[in-house]
Point group: C2
Chain length 272, copies 2
């Protein structure tokens, strides 16, 4: 395996950019290939079979880009597909669920942990399963928040509508007295201020993106796969691919990443 | 062409069921093959190229079912793809946009017509174009309402959140003094009471589904393609196909159609 090869990061669309941001910050010397499945977004409301099928296509695409490691930046794909595909992927692959669950299990004091995510992520039960593996003594309270993704994608990050929806979704987690809340969807950190306001200052908000990037860094270091920062610099350290509408993706991504993106390349993901 | 063959109806997912309901009511003797692209829903936020590509795959599927005529029940697909694919389809094909525009052009008194729909439908400008073709003297006011589809799919048909979003979206159409409003997305008739409440009693609400079914009836009669009601009855007059999650589709569809659906068959639409 070539240490100068890029790390692959993929998501159902835009949300994974919050993970990419953490990957760039933890692994500034690494090149990255990002794929966003903007033609088939969202994943959160679809079935396990479909998500596994889509994930396999994306992994086949990543193979053509000769990535040395893969971050599954989408919670739904991590929850539904990662276990099933893991064995057939010849490079290290990390999802967002396990690293997020691990840090929540470490940080809770009262043993009451909340998880919010898409219907798919919540239905999979993977956060609960991982949390109970790490800490059999905790209680897990899950809540699907299906309107958050469209609201974030509509740019309603500080909007009254989002606040109303959030107050409704989060009430039962407040009532349950959770002291730690996993934001189990990559879109949710973008409305962190609203979640913070409703949950109060004393609840820890866990962003699995951050833990996932740290986990990927550990793996590359353990396996001595880090890119040589003194090697030949890449012409295009960050390359972006999407299945639909590269312009909208670039506009949205430039806002999240705070740097001007090159135009993403549109690919026919169904062909992989 | 076999007059006993079914009529094909397709949509990005569930919304087209409001059109199917009208087709069943206008054409009770016809058999129907319905396809809902539940794996790739929604269409409204995606690009023209992608919608044309998806529409061509669905038409290829409909061909295998030997349909004698096709209703494009999705506004976004009608707006983006119908003109482009029409010439290559060997059977009559009707979208929802033209019939909806025609009746609105007839019914307006003050010549001020509002159109609400997905981003794709509004961006295509097809409603405006058709309205101005039928009535060059009207003024058209368009508004994309991207949160309506997820709100309807979440079942928030009479919810305060939907009312708040609707009040915001519709205010500028009220301010413009429209006397006629086209509900240019198949999901919207399901929140008609909220739209009615906000727009007031004096604004005509046009549901293109109804006009589309009537148009299909006219075509079948003109071309003498109606099914013989005294011929051999079908064992399965209504057959349903989806690209994902047949169970959820059946539950939702049974509610809209008010009869218990047979289990839809899941197909791999990407293969067509």
């Amino acid at each position: 395996m070539n240490n100068q090869a890029p790390v692959g990061v993929f998501d159902s669309g835009l949300g994974g950019l919050t993970v990419l941001k953490e990957v760039i910050s933890e692994l500034p010397d690494e090149d990255v290939v990002y794929f966003g499945d903007t033609a088939r977004v969202p994943y959160g409301s679809k079935s396990r079979d479909t998500i596994v099928h889509y994930t396999k296509q994306i992994l086949a695409f990543m193979k053509t880009k000769k990535v040395k490691a893969i971050v599954v930046a989408c919670n739904t794909a991590s929850a539904y597909a990662l276990e099933e595909v893991q064995a057939s992927v010849p490079v290290p692959i990390v999802g967002v669920v396990k690293p997020g669950a691990l840090v929540a299990a470490k940080e809770t004091e009262n043993g009451r942990i909340g998880v919010i995510g898409t219907r798919g992520t919540i239905r999979s039960g993977l956060y609960r399963k991982c949390l109970l593996e790490y800490r059999p003594d905790v209680e897990v309270f899950q809540k699907a928040c299906p309107l958050f993704v469209p609201m974030v994608e509509e740019g309603l990050w500080e909007d009254e509508l989002t606040r109303t929806a959030a107050a409704r979704y989060l009430q039962e987690l407040k009532d349950a007295g959770v002291d730690t809340l996993i934001m189990g969807c990559t879109h949710y950190p973008l409305i962190r201020p609203i979640i913070r306001e409703i949950m109060g200052e004393n609840v820890r908000l866990i962003n699995p993106a951050h833990e996932t990037a740290k986990r990927m860094k550990e793996i590359l270091e353990e396996k001595q796969m880090c890119r040589d920062p003194f090697g030949t610099p890449s012409k295009t350290p960050y390359r972006f691919f999407v299945s639909d509408d590269p312009e909208s993706f670039r506009d949205f991504a430039s806002k999240i990443l705070n740097f001007p993106l090159p135009m993403p390349e549109k690919i026919e993901i169904e062909g992989y």
